[in-house]
């Protein structure tokens, strides 16, 4: 069902297209769909002329993106779609050897042959132990909700819990998702660009990078800059985030946390400023903490107790008779001495002086002090603003962090430290402050459906109406590991580097090796270049007996390790329901409207490419799983329809049996074998009414409606609190330690403390006289994942950009080391990992650092444009518990290196392509 060709009217010129001469034009059609350049999924219109896609424009009428503009990645999608190197047919590996540079020697097979073989293996595994299936992948840019709706559902119904996604924080961060989930019921955070006056970024490229919500962030942050918003960017490099800052502050990787803590210290203890009302009403600041570091609880109800300063006695936190919450003082309750957690926090942060922060981070103490002062001045505690007739607190400051700031072994604490800056001035989900991606949706006005409301859960803490990957609150209990990811050990982890680690076998052995992974199904991913340490990854993937991948283009993982490759659809030829996993993932913030862009094919899929969801359903039929999957979809869609039947996280799928079937709307009948577009049509009609099915979007663009003020800025409209004292970590510690022992796992237990603290990251511990520089990578606006280097337009401009394909160093440091622009250099880690590239010196870079943008350095022979371009940074990283945050398991994404000249690109030795 591809949009019919629209012929231009007779003798009328084609509009919005440069045409030379008078060629015959029989098709001049614009199609509403979503971009697949990154996982921002901006609403676009694709221009098709004479059956060929010629242009990508942002949808000028949609808030879900740049409103008419698009970034280069989106435009270049066209070339990926028409790349002659694409996978067009199912392929089978005939070379039994697997490895980094192995030639798969593909043999073309039929779909039936491919699916028969896969189904046969899956049946056997399911009968023996479904956990033997590992499924997942890194966030494929075009995948969108196919991730949970397709693979997530398939795996859960199949019965495996080995769901391996997200590159274990290499691309985003477990700390970010844990923290944003906990504090904002959201996947990440961004300044309220419309009203913010002072934004502080720590290792974040919001508005200048890529990823979810990139489109509207670009647009809104440009408006903010134009308006004069101050933007202080802490970053080791002055390129993207730093390049648009009003003040760039160089900082050593992994030390953002101590700068944040020092600022909190200055604000609370030197300036003595904080938003008392926010702390009393919206945090666990008043909750009483006993000598064991945990809440003092009411004996009858088990609810945490607070001290009512008016009545002078302890009461449960949500007792309606409370006159005034004490946030200071020493009290005796239930026979123990206890303190409000805010009191403890305020005392605790005194140890973080600006001088100490300077020593660790190299940010001058005077700068830390000055920015702390500017922060409170700009925060306007007590101010209000009126928006559409509603009076709201106005706190026009926002501190945000994404991958870079928390991509270290102190991930959880670094992120929480930064969140404290927002919490203590009340700048959370109020105008001008730090906003999560939308957590509060009342639903489409006519139907009341597509609803998601955050609410108070255990201990009065905020939890999301819907989420994914992990439930931000309440956290699960710790368990002895039984999946190969093992993250059930530490429920504060959202992603895990295991089992693709150098120490996994040690722990799995200790656990008695309950089973082995026999089959891996990986979609839209590059599990050997996009993840940490290809040497460690190679050891792991080589051992998996059978690997199936769904891909559009050849990559290093398919070539080196896949047994069967299935040709996926490019976003430009595919259906996909919504550009989102949920509004909390990438919907426009603040008063930007509600908007539901939907993906549909601009051209008919060519060759034998198939929609991966329909392929999974085909497999499900062969395994007798279709009915269960249909039931899951019904529950999933219904739960957005009014009742949060399920949390949206993968785990909740496994509790389908607990759900009252009367509450589930049967959009799909149990044994129906529908197509993806049929499912989309029914879901759209269910959410938005019968007149708003797929046909509607095809002709009119996305369903839209205005956002209400209390949806955009929900914080003071919902009675929820956030933990500025991480009591749950104190609760968790004992059991985690006990369970860890069963697996022989030793974590840095010091970090299991409820008071946000600074811990030197592993990278900082590995600095030495020999390995004296910190190397790191960062998002480049031109690239996403590892496939964008294959697009000729992006490759062309990357070659013109001074930094994208080069390794950068501070000019003075390079000179000190006898290096100059154009030198071929090698970066070597203390573990002997090596990567090479061309040096480009910069003024805008911290002298103790070496930087590589994106993750280039492709070696797949099937992707000739990308081959050899740029540098693969991930080679330098380690993958084990030592290099992961113990609390949230985010990876250490920086590595110490020594730098020297080299005569050739050593990491390509044996790759088999052109000599580099």
């Amino acid at each position: 069902m591809v949009t019919q060709a629209k012929k231009p009217e007779n003798n009328k010129p084609v509009l919005g297209l440069s045409v030379k001469g008078n060629p015959e034009i029989w098709d001049d059609t614009w199609v509403y769909t979503t971009c697949g350049g990154c996982y921002g999924q901006c609403a676009i219109r694709a221009h098709r002329v004479n059956g060929v896609i010629v242009k990508i424009d942002g949808d000028p009428d949609s808030d879900f993106g740049p409103r008419g503009g698009i970034c280069a990645k989106g435009e270049a999608m066209i070339q990926a779609h028409y790349d002659p190197n694409r996978y067009n047919y199912p392929l089978r590996r005939t070379n039994p050897k697997k490895g980094l540079f192995e030639d798969p020697k593909w043999e073309r097979i039929s779909w039936d042959e491919a699916l028969d073989e896969i189904a046969k293996r899956l049946k056997k595994i399911r009968a023996e132990n479904p956990h033997k299936l590992l499924h997942g992948g890194t966030p494929g840019p075009g995948s969108g909700p196919d991730l949970p709706l397709g693979f997530g559902v398939f795996g859960a119904v199949f019965g495996t819990k080995n769901w391996y996604v997200g590159g274990a924080g290499l691309h985003c961060g477990s700390g970010s998702h844990m923290g944003a989930g906990l504090y904002h019921a959201s996947w990440s955070i961004v300044p309220d660009f419309k009203y913010c006056n002072y934004a502080l970024q720590m290792g974040s490229n919001k508005g200048t990078g890529s990823g979810h919500s990139m489109g509207f962030n670009m647009r809104l942050s440009a408006d903010a800059r134009s308006r004069g918003m101050k933007n202080v960017v802490f970053d080791p490099i002055c390129n993207f985030g730093g390049g648009k800052a009003t003040e760039w502050v160089p900082i050593l990787p992994g030390t953002d946390g101590i700068v944040a803590m020092a600022m909190v210290n200055i604000i609370l203890n030197e300036l003595d400023v904080y938003d008392a009302e926010f702390i009393k009403m919206k945090t666990n600041g008043p909750y009483l903490i006993g000598p064991d570091g945990k809440y003092v609880r009411d004996k009858e109800t088990d609810k945490p107790l607070v001290w009512d300063a008016k009545d002078n006695k302890a009461k449960t936190f949500n007792d309606p008779s409370i006159g005034d919450y004490a946030i200071f003082g020493e009290y005796e309750v239930n026979g123990v001495k206890c303190y409000p957690s805010f009191q403890l926090l305020k005392e605790h942060v005194k140890q973080y002086s600006p001088e100490q922060a300077e020593k660790e981070s190299t940010v001058p103490a005077s700068t830390v002090r000055r920015i702390a002062q500017e922060w409170v001045d700009a925060a306007m505690i007590g101010a209000t603003i009126e928006i559409e007739g509603e009076k709201l607190p106005f706190r026009p400051v926002a501190a945000i962090m994404f991958r870079g700031g928390q991509g270290h072994t102190n991930s959880a604490h670094s992120y929480i430290a930064m969140c404290l800056l927002n919490a203590i001035v009340g700048a959370m989900d109020v105008p001008g402050g730090t906003l999560g991606w939308p957590a509060y949706v009342e639903g489409y006005p006519d139907t009341g459906r597509f609803r998601m409301i955050p609410y108070a859960c255990k201990d009065g803490m905020l939890t999301a109406g819907s989420f994914m990957e992990h439930r931000p609150w309440p956290i699960e209990d710790s368990q002895v590991p039984y999946t190969t990811l093992m993250k059930e050990l530490t429920p504060t982890a959202s992603f895990s580097p295991h089992p693709v680690t150098s120490d996994f076998d040690k722990y799995w052995d200790k656990l008695g090796r309950p089973y082995e992974i026999e089959l891996a199904m990986i979609f839209g991913a590059n599990m050997i270049r996009s993840t940490q340490s290809r040497e460690i990854a190679d050891e792991f993937w080589k051992k998996i007996p059978f690997i199936v991948t769904f891909n559009i283009l050849p990559n290093e993982f398919c070539e080196g390790y896949a047994d069967i490759v299935l040709p996926d659809l490019h976003p430009l030829e595919a259906y996909c329901l919504f550009g989102t996993h949920g509004p909390f993932f990438n919907h426009p913030i603040g008063m930007e409207g509600w908007d539901f862009p939907v993906r549909q094919p601009v051209v008919q899929p060519a060759y034998e490419r198939r929609n991966k969801l329909e392929v999974l359903w085909d497999l499900a039929d062969r395994l007798g799983m279709r009915e269960e999957m249909n039931n899951y979809y019904n529950v999933y869609f219904t739960s957005f329809g009014g009742e949060a039947l399920i949390g949206g996280d993968i785990d909740s799928i496994r509790h389908l049996g607990d759900i009252d079937p009367k509450k589930v709307v049967q959009l799909i009948k149990p044994d129906e074998k529908i197509t993806y577009d049929e499912m989309m049509d029914r879901a759209l009609k269910f959410y938005f009414g019968d007149e708003h099915g797929l046909e509607y979007t095809l002709n009119n663009g996305p369903v839209k409606w205005p956002k209400k003020v209390h949806e955009a800025y929900w914080r003071w409209y919902v009675d929820v609190r956030i933990p500025i004292y991480m009591e749950h970590i104190a609760e968790l510690k004992e059991n985690v330690m006990k369970n860890a022992e069963k697996a022989g796992i030793e974590l840095d237990w010091e970090q299991f403390t409820p008071l946000t603290s600074y811990f030197t990251p592993q990278v900082g511990k590995e600095i030495s006289d020999e390995f004296d520089l910190y190397s790191f990578s960062y998002r480049d606006i031109l690239h996403n994942g590892t496939y964008t280097m294959e697009m000729p337009w992006l490759d062309e401009v990357s070659r013109l950009n001074p930094y994208t394909y080069n390794i950068t160093m501070n000019a003075a440091m390079a000179e000190k080391k006898g290096l100059k622009d154009g030198d071929l250099i090698c970066l070597e880690s203390p573990y002997g990992r090596k990567t090479t590239g061309t040096l480009q010196t910069m003024q805008g870079q911290h002298p103790q650092t070496v930087a590589i943008s994106a993750c280039s350095g492709a070696w797949a022979k099937g992707a000739p444009i990308a081959y050899g371009k740029g540098t693969n940074f991930n080679i330098l990283l380690e993958s084990d518990f030592k290099h992961a945050c113990p609390v949230c398991w985010s990876q250490e994404t920086a590595a110490t290196v020594k730098v020297y000249k080299i005569d050739h690109r050593i990491e390509f030795d044996g790759a088999g392509g052109d000599k580099l």
Binding site: P13, L15, G16, L17, S18, V19, K20, G21, P23, V49, N50, V52, V54, K55, D57, G58, P60, G65, G68, G69, I70, C71, A72, E75, I78, Q79, Y82, D83, P84, N85, G215, M218, A222, R225, S226, C238, N239, G243, W248, V249, P250, I781, L782, P792, W793, L794, E796, V797, L800, N801, P802, Y803, N810, A812, Q843, G844, Q845, P847, P864, I865
Partner: protein, 215 residues
């Protein structure tokens, strides 16, 4: 009427979409760019500013390239757009030397493919039908004159209506580029230039460029 641009440097994030929108719009061959993004730095560590400049032919009011062209291929329209008639151009490149901004490109080899050795893609083939490029001639930004002409014929306003506005302008995700009539004192572009102190690059070249930059 004199078409011009004003580019707000604060808004620009260096995403290169202006470059690629133009490449897509005109099916430009490999290694040919009609506009570019120049990246640089100003200052010394730690006080550094990143510089991002999107540059293209300035469609100067006093263009030296027109003066030097021996065949009259390079010419200027009434509305100020400077363009090259590829049927008249003999590829002498005098204009390339004359242009002080170095904004012209010589297109030589029409056998170059975007995927070398793998033939022309469907996309490249349709490009050769819709917007063919003659090899051996000089080419450059034409302010999307075809869009402007067809748009105006349909009653649309360049700089206001998307279909009549240059592709780089409409494709910019931060709306950094304004397009309009510099001769109209009431135009939006003149307002922006006045209010935000727009200035052309290298005014000392004396060519009276039509592209202004706003710091």
């Amino acid at each position: 009427m004199r078409w011009g641009m004003a580019i707000e440097l604060k808004r620009c994030i260096g995403c290169y979409e202006c470059v690629l929108a133009c490449k897509a719009e005109h099916f430009l061959p490999p290694d040919i760019f009609w506009n570019r993004v120049l990246i640089g730095e100003s200052g010394k560590y730690p006080t550094v500013t990143k510089l991002i400049y999107n540059v293209r032919c300035n469609h100067c009011a006093d263009p030296p390239c027109v003066k030097v062209c021996p065949t009259g291929a390079t010419q200027q329209r009434e509305d100020g757009i400077v363009w090259v008639d590829e049927d008249k151009c003999v590829g002498c490149r005098y204009c390339m030397i004359a242009c002080p901004y170095q904004m012209r490109s010589m297109y030589e080899d029409d056998s170059k493919e975007y995927f070398p050795g793998q033939g022309l893609t469907e996309h490249e083939k349709v490009g050769r039908e819709l917007y063919p490029h003659k090899p051996g001639v000089v080419q450059k930004c034409v302010f999307c004159k075809e869009r402007i002409d067809s748009g105006m014929a349909a009653g649309l306003t360049p700089g206001v209506d998307r279909e009549a506005t240059p592709a780089c302008v409409t494709s910019c995700p931060t709306k950094a580029i304004h397009f309009g009539d510099l001769d109209d004192p009431n135009s939006e572009i003149n307002r922006v230039i006045k209010e935000k102190h727009g200035h052309p690059f290298h005014p000392e070249f004396g060519t009276d460029p039509s592209i202004y930059y706003i710091d």
